[in-house]
């Protein structure tokens, strides 16, 4: 399959890239890892007149803790995030998620910034970042701004990014002691989008009482969903079997899936219930081991 013709741009600085994007407006798309955009272009679901390739921008691929946050550069490849020491040690939710994204070959090119900026509710990082309470740092021709993840996904394949903005960093708050997370995904085969998936990040305080709970849902709505009622039901309680059951039920009620080849509405909602309970149990176990 041959994509439509386009003009190819290779800016070497962020300033150059954002100026180009500001000038070209809706005619341009940012090319990052290209693992979603290029397949869409081959199917002619996307036919941008201009591609602004940001892979040559220096200093945007890194994973490090700094200033109370895990900072992930926008051009960080999923494989590098997966293999990062700090992620493997302290961010089990991110480590789980990376392993669930597409397949190992795709992860060698796919970027974390692109995974979010694509705005696909079937992508895996959105739910994870919702659960973690992340923040997206975007740079446009007007400068830099920080966008809380809760207000980042505005519609199907639509985000709060302006046409001239690039995701330069994703910031995840460093988890407190007693935190744990897990991502549980049901997929028909490696590389498939989730039938449904659930991201959980939980912090247990004194006496095992839940201080904070983040729950994100993948591919069960037109946007990635934050299961806020399920989260609220856990905070202030010991997450015993009854509390997990109740939260899982509330998460299922928050899901708004559509019927497709992967299953019916009822099936997917029930799947969210089951996966939420499993993700919670795993996250709690990890939190009890000290995160």
């Amino acid at each position: 399959m041959i994509p439509g013709a386009f003009e190819y741009h290779t800016p070497s600085t962020i300033g150059e890239a954002t100026a180009l994007l500001a000038r070209l407006g809706d005619d341009a798309k940012v090319l990052s890892g290209g693992q979603s955009l290029i397949p869409m272009m081959k199917l002619r679901l996307a036919q941008p007149k201009h591609l602004v390739d940001i892979n040559g921008l220096p200093g945007l691929a890194y994973v490090r803790e700094d200033g109370g946050a895990l900072r992930i550069g926008g051009l960080t490849r999923e494989a590098d995030l997966e293999e990062s020491d700090v992620v493997q040690r302290r961010y089990p939710l991110l480590a789980d998620t990376c392993r669930a994204i597409a397949d190992p070959l795709v992860r060698n090119l796919a970027t974390v910034g692109g995974n979010l900026a694509h705005g696909d509710p079937a992508n895996d990082h959105p739910a994870t970042m919702l659960a973690l309470g992340a923040e997206v740092v975007a740079v446009g021709s007007g400068g830099e701004r920080k966008i809380p993840i809760d207000s980042f996904f505005t519609g199907p394949f639509t985000t709060a990014l302006r046409p001239d903005e690039i995701v330069v960093e994703v910031r995840v708050p460093v988890p407190k002691g007693g935190s744990g997370g897990a991502y549980v995904k049901m997929e028909r085969k490696v590389g498939d989008f989730a039938t449904a998936a659930v991201a959980v990040q939980i912090t247990l305080g004194a006496g095992g009482v839940c201080e904070r709970a983040g729950i994100g849902l993948t591919n069960v709505g037109s946007v990635p969903i934050k299961a806020t009622k399920a989260e609220a039901a856990l905070v202030g309680k010991r997450p015993d079997e009854a509390a997990i059951k109740r939260a899982a039920q509330l998460a299922a009620e928050a899901a708004e899936p559509q019927e497709d080849l992967r299953g019916s509405v009822a099936y997917k909602k029930d799947l969210v219930r089951v996966l939420t309970a499993r993700a919670l149990a795993k996250a709690i176990e990890r939190a009890q081991k000290g995160g």
Binding site: M1, E7, Y8, G34, P39, K42, L51, L105
Partner: protein
């Protein structure tokens, strides 16, 4: 648009349309037909090549993106008339039937064994999970990779 790439250590130049996919540059412009095109939808991994040492799907990258980079294809595995231990192992362990997925399997495995010279079966299965085989059921492919790992450990 001029694209300069090094493939298997040899420098190549071509004037291409930006929309040309890397796999088409490799197969059609440069006539290195060892790299296969399977699904053309980023699923099967038949088109896997190494980009600066990392396995990627060459149907999901534009040729112009490879400008200035180093690419290794299956033709680059043989050295001085001697097959790579993985190629030998795929033969001796019957790691292929129709052979369509083999170039991709080999390129993924080459990069994987460099990173993880003593893998478990589970790690091998994870590593090749982006490469589809419709003949073997993977059993002999896994055996071939295990065999190659052992051979390479033996200092061959």
């Amino acid at each position: 648009m001029l694209v300069k790439v090094a493939i298997n250590g040899e420098k190549h130049e071509a004037d291409v349309e930006p929309r040309l996919l890397l796999v088409h540059l490799i197969r059609e412009t440069l006539r290195l037909t060892g790299t296969h095109i399977g699904c053309d939808t980023t699923h099967c991994g038949a088109c896997t090549v190494l980009l600066d040492g990392r396995p990627i799907k060459s149907c999901t990258m534009f040729a112009v993106q490879a400008h200035g980079r180093e690419i290794t294809t299956v033709e680059g595995l043989e050295q001085d008339g001697k097959l790579h231990p993985l190629q030998e192992s795929f033969m001796s362990e019957h790691g292929l039937q129709c052979g369509y997925c083999t170039p991709g399997m080999l390129m993924t495995s080459v990069a994987f064994l460099k990173k993880n010279p003593k893998p478990t079966e589970d790690e091998i299965r994870w590593a090749i999970s982006g490469n589809l085989c419709r003949c073997t059921g993977y059993v002999n492919i896994v055996k071939a990779i295990q065999h190659a790992a052992a051979t390479m450990q033996g200092g061959a």
